[in-house]
Symmetry: C2
Subunit: 152 residues, 2 copies
């Protein structure tokens, strides 16, 4: 259903740990576990999702620790945040650069469709508005295949 190509969780984990280390962040067991969860997950987990998965290996981990680590990763541009005002934010640790998403409005599934890049359009908008554009967000909302089935 969604783009699963070019995924290499182990390599991505190495990348993230190396970058955090070289920028002076400490590599605690909790932090490593969170990085692993992010590298291995493909569903754009929420902080709560990450926390739940984390409790299996580290039963005493605080939710605050997950929030703090996510903030860290955002600052280092190692995770992409998808903001929502009415439900929990979601995170992509595999591809931290902006890219389009297909989002199910019923079950909350989020996936990464393979699409042509938006750089040209961004340039066009920059020219017409005078903005110095540094980032973007493109979401497509609708029903995922599973939720369509349930409708009959």
């Amino acid at each position: 259903m969604c783009d699963e190509a070019k995924r290499d969780p182990a390599e991505r984990l190495r990348q993230m740990t190396a970058r955090l280390k070289e920028r002076g962040h400490r590599l605690t067991p909790q932090r490593l576990a969170i990085l692993r969860i992010l590298a291995e997950s493909r569903g754009h987990p929420s902080v709560e999702d990450i926390h739940k998965a984390l409790l299996k290996d580290f039963p005493t981990t605080s939710l605050a620790t997950v929030y703090k680590t996510i903030t860290r990763l955002k600052d280092e541009n190692e995770v992409l945040e998808l903001e929502f005002s009415d439900l929990a934010n979601r995170y992509d640790g595999n591809t931290p650069t902006p890219h389009p998403h297909a989002i199910c409005t019923r079950c909350g599934a989020i996936c990464d469709p393979d699409t042509p890049p938006l750089e040209e359009l961004a340039k066009l908008v920059a020219d017409r508005t005078g903005f110095r554009i540094t980032s973007h967000r493109l979401d497509f909302y609708g029903l995922c295949p599973k939720c369509q089935e349930q409708d009959g």
Copy 2:
């Protein structure tokens, strides 16, 4: 700086009032005032913005009334909501169908750049993901012209 063409606040106000009326909503003075503010504003106001403007004519209006009216307008597809998790949502009452936005990450300015439509891309994503796509959102983030000046 942004697209100001084809704006006709008076006509848009007529549209909105007519549609609310024919769908059985009562046209109270407060509601009409909120519709007027939305039709005339071009900066994508927040609920608080609308409320502040409203207080000039209706000094006793509750913030809850603005929230309720916005919810109503969303249900009737007469306003487009731009969600943010870390700051107040913003609203476009002029063009309630999805369209791209340029958003200043420093001062919060939001404007409507004139861009080619995304229907083709939406269709492409629908084909590749199996989603039944009903809506979308495209934001470009960066610094608006004014905020660029302040940097020197």
